[in-house]
Amino acid sequence: MSTTTDLVDYDEAVSRFDPVIGIEVHVELGTRTKMFDGAPTEFGADPNTQVTPVSLGLPGALPVVNRTAVESAIKIGLALNCEIAELCRFARKNYFYPDIPKNFQTSQYDEPIAHDGWIDVELEDGTVVRVEIERAHMEEDAGKNTHVGGATGRIHGAEYSLVDYNRAGIPLVEIVTRPITGVGDRAPEVARAYVQTLRDIFRALAVSEARMERGNVRADVNVSLRASADAPLGTRTETKNVNRFRSVERAVRYEISRQAAVLAGGGSVVQETRHWHEDTGITTPGRVKSDAEDYRYFPEPDLVPVAPSREWVEQIRASLPEMPVARRRRLQGEWGYADAEMRDVVNAGALDLIEATVAAGASPAAARKWWMGQLARTANESGVALEELAITPGQVAELQGLVDSGRLNDKLARQVLAGVLAGEGSPGQVAHDRGLEVVSDDGALLAAVDEALAAQPDIADKIRGGNLGPVGAIIGAVMKATRGQADAARVRELVLERVTQG
């Protein structure tokens, strides 16, 4: 780790070699209870409180398959155009590690619930890449180790370790692609778009909150290089636990440059797992795969096979929601957004919010203006996601309604929005409480106009003399006097009216 790694410039690497990638994505299902156990799955609970004899692997405890988890796995399989197995089993993957309470992980092995599918992935410029899915299988998550003492927080050098079994037994679905070939220099981009597409699908299916920052979705990326597109596949590395979209792209890019340097130097790539370092953007060697452990897989004798009836599978298929890509195309058509606009909306995570805002009565253009404008800036400044802002799509639509009806102008609307975000209530409420409404009473306005004209008689004279240049100064004075709550156009009319009359 201490020696610096040689890298070949990315463009050169992809001009000399043909990259092939493969991606394994783990998604934690959002079921109420665990994969084989009635223990609750609440995130962030005190350590070792979300456990039962089953999740602790106590002697005598037995697993029972969670039906909702199976249903979620089938949903994922169907959304990825997979075939759903008529009968499949769980197996035991045997290895000793303190974070797996039974010292084996219950996982599907050679009989996945879903297999042989595909998904179309859309890149930012609209290019569509079809990714083939080898399998999607069910398994259980491990507990979480915390290494205490030592400088790095890693096991090496730690004084002792603590294990939290709250996560042990949370249902996971692992989705494995076939090798993705023929994407050339766009491999990193494809990898990222694929993981993002899956995340969107998980959310659309409502099988997981799919929150990257909580580790709900984790990717292992396999990268290999070969001399040309018709050469046999090269030796691959597997970079584990890449948990951000951008990092997926960076990790693939890094591995391409690193492997190219190894190969260009006449060396050979070592088949191994590698660790991704978020801070430095590099990968380092983990364990070498060639002496990988023998997991002694065998069918889990404590469980009976899962045999989803064809009727059930068809019911699930019929109940699948619209998939994200199709939905995006439909909404873009309905809203009339340009490609670039639509892309920005999607990337900002504003699609659902805008859809709900439009449903609540705002125009698509206005909804986009608010969510991609002031709200996006606010979210960005406070480092939260758009949906975490203290405002609902309904409130945004209400705000726009106040503008459309002339009760607020843009400037006032922005102040009202700030009030809503500050928790002062609905837009109507804030406008009322803060006294932020357009003054539409001509009487009140006329009084302010007269006052302004009287205060600046020289300007009034110039206007009377036909010089309309300084009208702005009078309007400004009126706006100031009304604290911005006047309709500027109406003020202008009234000023001119007054001067001509005089």
Partner: protein
């Protein structure tokens, strides 16, 4: 205690005790105390118990007595005490599975069958000795000392459930729970002159049984009469949603079948004698008693036919691949990290891996280590197909043998074990000879079918057993045929076989342990 002494109470069957309790002739506290006194008197010599839960048992007994006095409708066996094999998890009561690695562990939950015993009001007298993790046929592999056969204290009580069988044979308990992975209920039953039943796989919940081999393990009753086994089986049996392999079907009428059998009439019942489970390797006296009982069955109206199960020859070999394979994985959890024994290495750093190694090295006995090594090897990449895979194919062939045999016969019969109880230590250094004890009982576990052992007389003063096997879910047939044979034999003997057992040396103590 009008006219009933404590010693009388311990010699009565569970069915009799239940009747006396219902009639108000005795209280559960009296019955329970009588058994606790008997344990105090004879268990020093027998060592059937690893833990005696006197207070817990008496509390249950008092509760049952109070509920009965209040006119509550109680379960048939309410108030009749029971002993539980130490492989079954009991909340608040030590559970070791006969292993040092679980010394001091007190489970935080009850096995489903224990919940059912408690719900039915059976006081739990304590936990019985066994071969470590149920690996053995003599109870000599317990980390906590040998159990002695009440018929001859120098001999083994069978295994792995030697403690439960000896407790019942020594009148320390009228009822006990055993588990049977390859014969651990039936073989001890045979060599102690008691009744033992391995139900259909899935018939009794495995939730809370410390697993030996998940696909073979089954809990069942250990008693002195066939009717008592049926009564206990009905308490613990039936579907449990916490065990995925639990059968959804309701239990057949087991008690009714036993009562029908007690008439001694077997007219129209086809009894299949398994050719491969008799003959070579079976002690001559064992074969004699078996033939005599076949005559009795014929006389009772049964049609006795010979059937062949050609693949039973491979059962032992398949069993000793499947069992160690599953056991090697099931026993992985015993690592000193979460419960039970924890041993830190005496030299070098106490890393998790080294603590696991030191704990397992110190906590497991030789037989357990032997089977973990066998199983780990059998599941290894490159060997899986040849060993575990082939064994599973043999299993399928044995299931087909059973299916073919049950097309010709309603039940199958054989001697339960090939020999009488051997002397303590006699086969300890010869694992293969030890494994051969289960040659007649293992096929039922491999196929998931139910089996019963009923006392079949004595050979040189030692008991032997008669095994009855039935198709899966037809446990009722075991009880009908078993009870009929029991009745006919007891007529011949002039009473229960155990009446001929020698007196045990007793210590007189003022109080129980």
């Amino acid at each position: 205690m009008a006219g009933t002494t404590g010693s009388d109470l311990t010699r009565r069957s569970a069915a009799d005790l239940a009747q006396a309790l219902r009639a108000g002739e005795v209280s559960s506290v009296e019955v329970t105390q009588a058994h606790l006194d008997r344990i105090a008197a004879v268990d020093g010599a027998v060592h059937a118990f690893l833990h005696v839960s006197a207070e817990d048992a008496l509390a249950t007994a008092r509760d049952v007595d109070a509920r009965r006095a209040a006119g509550e409708d109680l379960a048939p066996l309410a108030g009749v005490p029971v002993a539980v094999k130490d492989v079954v998890v009991t909340k608040g009561m030590p559970t070791t599975a006969g292993s040092r690695i679980l010394s001091g562990w007190v489970p935080p939950y009850d096995a489903t069958l224990v919940e059912r015993l408690r719900a039915a009001g059976l006081p739990i007298l304590g936990k019985t000795n066994m071969d470590e993790f149920a690996m053995g046929s003599s109870t000599e592999h317990s980390a906590y000392g040998n159990t002695h056969n009440p018929w001859d204290l120098d001999r083994i009580p069978g295994g792995s459930g030697g403690g439960s069988a000896a407790a019942v044979a020594a009148f320390e308990a009228p009822l006990a729970i055993g588990t049977d992975t390859g014969g651990s209920i039936r073989q001890p039953g045979a060599v102690t002159g008691t009744v033992g039943v391995k139900p259909t796989y899935g018939g009794v919940s495995r939730y809370g049984l410390i697993a030996l081999a998940s696909s073979l393990d089954q809990a069942g009753p250990v008693t002195r009469t066939v009717l008592d086994s049926a009564l206990l089986h009905e308490v613990i049996g039936g579907h449990d949603p916490r065990d995925s392999t639990s059968l959804p079907d309701p239990l057949p009428d087991l008690v009714g079948a036993a009562r029908q059998g007690l008439t001694g009439d077997l007219t129209g019942v086809r009894v299949g004698v398994v050719r491969e489970l008799n003959g070579e390797g079976y002690q001559a006296g064992v074969r004699d008693r078996f033939e005599e009982s076949l005559e009795l069955l014929r006389a009772a109206g049964a049609e006795v036919v010979e059937v062949s199960c050609p693949h039973f020859e491979y059962a032992l070999a398949a069993y000793y691949l499947i069992l160690p394979s599953e056991a090697s994985s099931n026993l992985a959890k015993f690592d000193g990290m979460r419960f039970g024994l924890r041993v830190e290495p005496t030299d070098g750093p106490a890393t998790a891996e080294r603590v696991m190694g030191a704990t397992r090295g110190a906590g497991f006995g030789d037989e357990v280590k032997r089977r973990i090594i066998l199983g780990t090897y059998a599941l290894s990449a490159g060997y899986y197909d040849a060993y575990y895979g082939s064994a599973q194919k043999v299993r399928t062939l044995i299931q087909r043998d059973f299916a073919a045999a049950f097309a010709q016969a309603d039940v199958l019969v054989s001697p339960t074990a090939p020999t009488t109880a051997f002397r303590l230590g006699e086969k300890l250094d010869d694992p293969l000879a030890m494994y051969l004890n289960d040659v007649a009982t293992i096929p039922a576990n491999l196929a998931g079918v139910p089996g019963l052992s009923v006392p079949n007389g004595l050979v040189d003063g030692l008991p032997v057993g008669f095994q009855v096997l039935a198709p899966a879910r037809a446990d009722d047939r075991l009880y009908r045929v078993g009870a009929a044979l029991e009745t006919l034999l007891e007529q011949r003997w002039g009473g229960p076989l155990l009446a001929q057992a020698p007196q045990l040396p007793t210590v007189t103590e003022g109080s129980t342990r």
